[in-house]
Amino acid sequence: MNADEADLILAARGIKKSFGRVEALRGADFDVRRGEVVALMGDNGAGKSTLVKVLSGVHSADEGLVTLDGHEVAFGSPEEAREAGIETVYQDLALADTLDSAANLFLGRELRRPGVLGRIGVLDKRRMRQEAREAFESLQVTVRSEHDAVGNLSGGQRQGIAVCRAATWAKHVLFLDEPTAALGVRQTENVLDLIRRVRDRGISVVLISHSLPEVMRVADRIEVFRLGRRIGQFITADVSAEDVVAAITGAKDMVQFEEGQAL
């Protein structure tokens, strides 16, 4: 393993995945380095969602190799991926709208009271509320009222809670599927800040996004997909938005591909 590979927390090599006769991924590679924000870009049908679903255990790959922290992994279910430290926030956020923020943070991972009460399944609501408060504070997510059902909160706050929940449990990698698609300008700003804070905590963030301006501002690197393959890797600081667009649309296909390889 060379130094560059040691820097990778998650790597996919030659991933193939077909649905019937549709080849969604045709030998795709993908890299996530430690403590970075990497944007996964590509036009509709490029294979972004399929890749995320393979890497988060929703689908299993037909072919290819996935390594997490240098070890080969094959997730049979989303639970396995989550246990390995990979969390995903989809656009629907997967919140329980009638429960409060703390209950959502600990959904499926409820804390129990110590001793006999815990063994018969009694919740430790106070500790969950306390730890939830700390989790939200540490990522500066504002929750207007912690007793309120999250269904009553604004879209930005709900997004904040969902991202914070995933970041709390993610040990290695956090996938965010178009986290700002439904948000206004200021709420988008908050989510981008939140993404940086998650990264600064040492968790790698994979941002699936169509918004180039956002990606240019928050991502350390960009990986571009087209027709089921990665066709370019860029360091955000060294690339212009025009070049990324060209890669996404295929206008300068081979040139970008070679430059991408040279990275």
Partner: protein, 322 residues
């Protein structure tokens, strides 16, 4: 006002508690010597007990955004099985009674499990599944009893079922204990929390690693066991099966749960509300009879309270979620 108190006041359960108190106050004022007496209260408690036991199960189910129409039939079925089991053992021994109890619980639980498997595994909608078992359980109860009520219930059981502890009817004490335990499970345990989560958003619960199918099956089984227990209490109280007498118990239970503030959309509900919701129809019926009002008016009154409760729930949701 602190936030806890204001949340409490905003709960529909609180509204319904006030309405129940108002109804009691009204009847107490109109007929203080007949309504507001110990013996009348005992009657009201006895009449609420079985409904409450069944409504406890319905509360869990409705919080998951499900529905169980089969409970009345399951109650009848298991009471027939229990009565026949006791008759088969014979005698008035404690052993025979315990066999009867076991038979009612197991046969009720079996119907509940069947509901759960069909709903959670085979993905047949709860309404359809339990409409099916509503008919099937009632039909089988008629088949195995020949359509004739089984009257051979052991004497000691009937004595027990009509007895009192410290002046409170025994079956009311049993119902209260069950409702309290179930209320604690709902409000303070992982099982309860996940029940709300499933009703709130099944897909979210599943993605959070909650085993939704298994959880739903346990809840429908629990409701079946409680319907079975209701069948046993019914035997203890009336000394006979009541094949023709529980045809709309399912709707009464759902009414109690919904009046109590549990949302038919799932994810929201309180066991205390269910208890209040079980009392309102019984108190209304009792008060009307004492007042000499044609007792059929209770249905009109209960129906109105039900619709009002749902209206209240929807308005609150719209206000909150908009």
């Amino acid at each position: 006002m602190n936030s806890r108190l204001s949340t409490w006041l905003a709960k529909p359960t609180t509204t319904m508690l006030l309405i129940l108190a108002a109804i009691i106050a009204m009847f107490a004022f109109l007929s203080p010597t007949t309504f507001f007496t110990v013996s009348n209260a005992q009657g009201i408690f006895s009449n609420t007990a079985i409904l409450l036991v069944v409504a406890v199960g319905a509360t869990f189910i409705i919080i998951t955004s499900g529905i169980d129409l089969s409970v009345g039939s399951v109650l009848v079925f298991s009471s027939v099985v229990g009565a026949q089991a006791m008759a088969a053992v014979g005698g008035d021994s404690l052993g025979a009674i315990l066999v009867g109890l076991l038979a009612t619980l197991v046969s009720g639980g079996a119907w509940g499990l069947l509901n759960g498997v069909l709903i959670a595994r085979a993905k047949v909608p709860p309404f359809v599944t339990t409409l099916g078992t509503l008919g099937a359980a009632y039909g089988l109860a008629l088949v195995i009893s020949g359509g004739v009520d089984v009257r051979s219930v052991p004497g000691p059981l009937v004595q027990f079922g009509n007895g009192r502890w410290l002046g409170v009817p025994v079956i009311a004490v049993i119902a209260a204990v069950i409702a309290t335990l179930a209320g604690l499970v709902l409000a303070t345990t992982v099982f309860g929390r996940r029940t709300y989560a499933i009703g709130s958003n099944e897909e979210s619960a599943r993605r959070a690693g909650i085993r939704v199918e298994r959880h739903l099956m346990s809840i429908y089984t629990l409701a079946g066991v409680l319907a079975g227990l209701g069948g046993f209490l019914s035997l203890a109280r009336f000394g006979t099966t009541t094949i023709a007498g529980n045809t709309n118990l399912n709707l009464q239970a759902i009414t109690a749960v919904v009046i109590g503030g549990t949302s038919l959309f799932g994810g929201i509900g309180w066991m205390a509300g269910t208890a209040i919701g079980a009392f309102i129809p019984v108190v209304l019926a009792n008060g009307f009879i004492i007042q000499g009002v044609v007792p059929y008016w209770q249905y009109v009154a209960v129906g109105s309270v039900l619709v009002a409760a749902v209206l209240l729930d929807q308005r609150r949701r719209r206000r909150q979620l908009s």
